[in-house]
């Protein structure tokens, strides 16, 4: 007879820590004209919210840290204050 003990066992599930996009004060806005798709923004995003192919930023989860903006060699990502 197999009985699973009740304890803190967790399974993988997106959003397990909530929708971290709500933490944001500043939102990254990409100037797609200037962007040369180097991918450095995606590489350095701690949260991996930038799609490595399309370089679309997932604003549901982006915490707005601004590393992408700071590291962009083209300086084509601006951090814009969120309006609520």
């Amino acid at each position: 007879m197999s009985r699973m003990p009740k304890m803190t066992i967790s399974v993988p599930h997106e959003a397990a820590a909530g929708l971290t996009g709500t933490w944001r004060t500043f939102r990254p806005v990409v100037d797609r004209e200037t962007c040369n798709h180097c991918g450095i923004c995606a590489m350095f995003c701690p949260d991996a919210v930038i799609d490595p192919d399309t370089l679309e930023i997932d604003l549901v989860y982006c915490k707005g840290c601004g590393i992408c903006s700071n590291e962009c060699p083209k300086k084509c990502i601006k951090m814009v204050r969120e309006e609520h």
Partner: protein, 296 residues
């Protein structure tokens, strides 16, 4: 250049602070390790950012364990898996407090016994999880909540302590150099026995830096030589590319200090001591690299 897999092993999104260096490092550690991996995590920032029961964000098993206990837990796990004939990677991901302070006894024991696992210390130079109290890894001059006027003694040289165990593989890394992390983890996991990687992971709230500066500050650490990237495979000691470049003409460490709020109480005298420490360390590392090359 190594092709780093696009697949992310962490689901969106761990509840680390915005701009977390340790999370950036973990992304690349898990990419290198792949699915056949178990993470062992002692009390640290990474023990609380995994999501809330009954869910988590990691797509590999995670075993959370007590603060002092990571290396011992990984020892038991690795021995059991190997006894069963399983090759699964066992990777400890621990902070500097859990490594250099409370966990050092278990770490030393595991390294001495030659246990087959990879221990990674992400070093944010204080007890970040509990709000930045000083640790043995906090550098000279840094303000923490328990060193309100700046730490008056040096950072513990964890790497030389670990080195004294004569591991098959040991390296340093920094979250600002993800490809370097990826390669070092790959290399480490290809070698049986105990492996150790020490990753400098800037912490925006703890270091009093804006969240967008995490990568930049890490690079400044390497460029000033206060943090040197190297690896040691058996007896072969190599300075990694970013530090090789930096060591030719290190940036003044003062710029690194000035960029962080935690060093705001460092006076000129202390700054000079820090610079002297850096110079001395760089000399030692250059010498070790040269000696290692000679014996090649």
């Amino acid at each position: 250049m190594t092709e780093i897999p696009k697949e992310e092993m962490l689901l969106k999104c761990p509840s680390t602070c915005a701009g977390c260096g340790s999370l950036l490092a973990l992304r690349y550690i898990l990419k290198a390790a792949g699915k056949d991996t178990i993470l062992v995590i002692p009390a640290c920032c990474n023990s609380v950012i995994q999501g809330v029961y009954p869910y988590m964000l990691h797509t590999v098993p995670v075993y959370n364990i007590a603060f002092a206990a990571a290396a011992a837990c990984a020892s038991g796990m690795s021995e059991a898996l190997r006894a069963k004939g399983e090759k699964t990677n066992v990777i400890v991901y621990a902070g500097d407090g859990g490594t250099a302070d409370i966990g050092i006894q278990a770490l030393s024991g595991a390294l001495e016994r030659g246990e087959d696992f990879l221990y990674i210390c992400y070093d944010n130079e204080a007890y970040g999880n509990t709000g930045m109290q000083r640790s043995g890894a906090t550098p000279l001059g840094a303000i923490t909540t328990t060193t309100p006027n700046g730490k008056t003694v040096n950072k513990k040289d964890l790497d030389r302590i670990v080195e004294a165990h004569n591991l098959p593989y040991q390296a340093t890394a920094c979250s600002s150099y993800p490809a370097d992390i990826y390669n070092k983890v790959k290399k480490a996991l290809s070698i049986p026995g105990p492996k150790f990687i020490h990753i400098l992971a800037p912490c925006p709230p703890g270091w009093r830096i804006p969240s967008e500066k995490t990568v930049e500050i890490g690079k400044m650490a390497v460029k000033s030589g206060i943090w040197v990237l190297w690896e040691k495979e058996y007896d072969k000691f190599t300075v990694s590319a970013p530090s090789r470049a930096a060591m030719k003409r290190p940036a003044p460490v003062g710029d690194y200090l000035k960029a962080q709020g935690r060093f705001r109480k460092v006076d000129e005298k202390t700054a000079a001591v820090i610079q002297a420490n850096v110079d001395k360390n760089l000399k030692r590392i250059a010498l070790e690299a040269a000696q290692s090359e000679e014996t090649e």
